[in-house]
């Protein structure tokens, strides 16, 4: 079933991304930056 494999592959890719520290470091910094921007504007 190619479409099922593709879905599983996509889910697996997202799991890998979401457990990668390289993803969370920039995301947390981005959220903090947005908070600062919201506060100072």
């Amino acid at each position: 079933m190619p479409s099922e494999n593709a879905t599983q592959g996509s889910a697996s890719l997202w799991t890998t991304i979401l457990t990668d520290v390289h993803f969370w470091v920039p995301l947390i910094v981005l959220a903090a930056g947005l908070a600062v921007l919201h506060w100072i504007r």
Partner: protein, 439 residues
């Protein structure tokens, strides 16, 4: 997480090749400084009361056009599709990096407004120190590099920071600090965001992605985030559209600034790829020197000021040059490069990227050809030409509506600096072509 040292799957890049790649990286770092510094020049021509958010949005629009048309012209979008097939996960990091840039750029506008450029600029230049930290922590940069290289890179970055502080105070000492705490926080936050933005850059290039592909995804995050901020903080879409319509005569200059910035950023990306972020960011930060040259020589910003101010400028410039020189001379050793390779192999294993693709990207060869075993498809399609023609047509149309600035410009200085930039463009472009064929 896989942090154990893997076995080497293939021999390290030969030292002659490594030396060439590093020279290209250093040259690109200096080229980035020249072009990024010049990017502010067109915005100085804008003297109307346009909101800072709109200025930033229009520059980003110029960036968007350039980032889709230049790669199409240089390499063709077919190569971009091949890169996505190899490493689809990097689209996420490209968009994330673009969002970081947009928020940081907006924060700098508020920082300049609150504390002036003199204090804000050196504060956000902490990005190079943060880049060294992330490079070491996450990507094995400067590991096994030896004490001397640590000293030269860190010392060079600190020298540049000191020089930047002197230059910034000299360039706009007249700016009053209206809201010091708020402004300092904004500048520091911008530095942290810009320093962290290089984490996605480095991740992409360690994996083997071509900078010309990565910047295309970057720009989607950048334009999306900037448009959201402009709409959210600019009074809604109707108010934003009205401001854009009122700015018709200056659209060209702002978007030209964005276009120039893209060329600088492209060189910055190649510098990050071949010499790492710990060395690439400080070299790109020489943009402050170039910005000052444009300000003093072309726009006559410090005309008639005291001798002590000029002494500050010369002192700051010498400090920055010394710092940049130290970093440029701190070459990557074979053992440090082996640690880079470990980090690259870790990335490849984690995301199932073809080992040949990763290896070829690290050594500046055609990653897609290495992965598929096929010759690279360098031809351009109708889509590439359409992108180039559309971007050119938009710029020409905006140029027709543009009004010539009524500023007193020093034309000989402007021509000289432009020639210097073109020399950098050709030198970097030629070096990249000869050593890597833009791979």
């Amino acid at each position: 997480m896989e942090f154990s040292a893997p076995k080497m799957s293939s021999p390290s890049i030969e030292s002659a090749r490594l030396r060439k790649l590093q020279l290209v990286g250093v040259l690109c770092g200096f080229g980035a400084g020249a072009w990024l510094g010049a990017a502010e020049a067109p915005t100085k021509l804008v003297k109307l009361g346009i909101s800072p958010l709109v200025v930033s949005l229009l520059m980003v629009a110029g960036v968007f056009l350039a980032r889709w048309s230049l790669p199409a012209l240089i390499r063709g979008t077919g190569q971009m599709r091949a890169d996505i097939r190899q490493a689809p996960h990097l689209i996420v990091w490209g968009i994330l990096a673009g969002c970081l840039w947009a928020v940081a750029n907006t924060l700098t506008i508020f920082a300049i407004r609150d504390i002036g450029l003199s204090i804000a600029f050196p504060l956000w230049n902490i990005n190079s120190l943060l880049g060294i930290f992330w490079g070491y922590l996450l990507f094995n940069e400067l590991r096994d590099a030896g004490r001397i290289r640590w000293l030269t890179v860190l010392g060079g970055a600190l020298l540049m920071f000191a020089g930047a502080t002197l230059l910034a105070f000299a360039s706009s000492a007249q700016s009053p600090a209206e809201h010091p705490v708020r402004g300092i926080l904004a500048a520091l936050a911008a530095g942290v965001l810009w320093g962290t933005m290089y984490v996605p850059y480095r991740k992409a290039y360690l994996t083997g992605m071509n900078p010309l592909s990565f910047i295309a995804f970057f720009t989607i995050g950048e334009l999306g985030m900037m448009a959201t901020l402009a709409v959210a903080y600019g009074g809604g879409p109707v108010a934003l559209w009205r401001q854009l319509a009122e700015a018709k005569e200056v659209l060209f200059w702002l978007m030209l600034g964005g276009f120039v910035w893209v060329i600088g950023d492209l060189f910055q990306q190649y510098a990050a790829k071949y010499i790492g972020i710990s060395r690439g960011i400080p070299l790109s930060n020489t943009n402050q020197l170039w910005g000052l040259l444009w300000g003093i020589l072309v726009f006559g910003e410090l005309h008639g000021r005291s001798a002590s101010l000029y002494a500050q400028v010369i002192g700051g410039s010498l400090l920055m040059a010394a710092g940049a020189g130290a970093i440029a001379l701190s070459s990557v050793t074979g053992s440090e490069h082996a640690r880079w390779k470990q980090a690259a192999e870790r990335e490849g294993r984690r995301y199932g990227v073809d080992a040949g693709y990763v290896e070829a990207g690290l050594s500046g060869n055609d990653s897609n050809a290495a992965a598929s075993g096929l010759a690279a498809q360098s031809g351009r399609t109708w889509l590439d030409w359409l992108l180039v023609i559309a971007a050119t047509a938009i710029f020409f149309t905006l140029a027709v509506f543009a009004r010539a600035p009524s500023l007193a410009l020093n034309w000989p200085a402007l021509v000289t600096l432009t020639i210097a930039m073109v020399i950098f463009l050709f030198a970097c472009g030629l070096a990249l072509w000869r050593v890597t064929r833009f791979n």
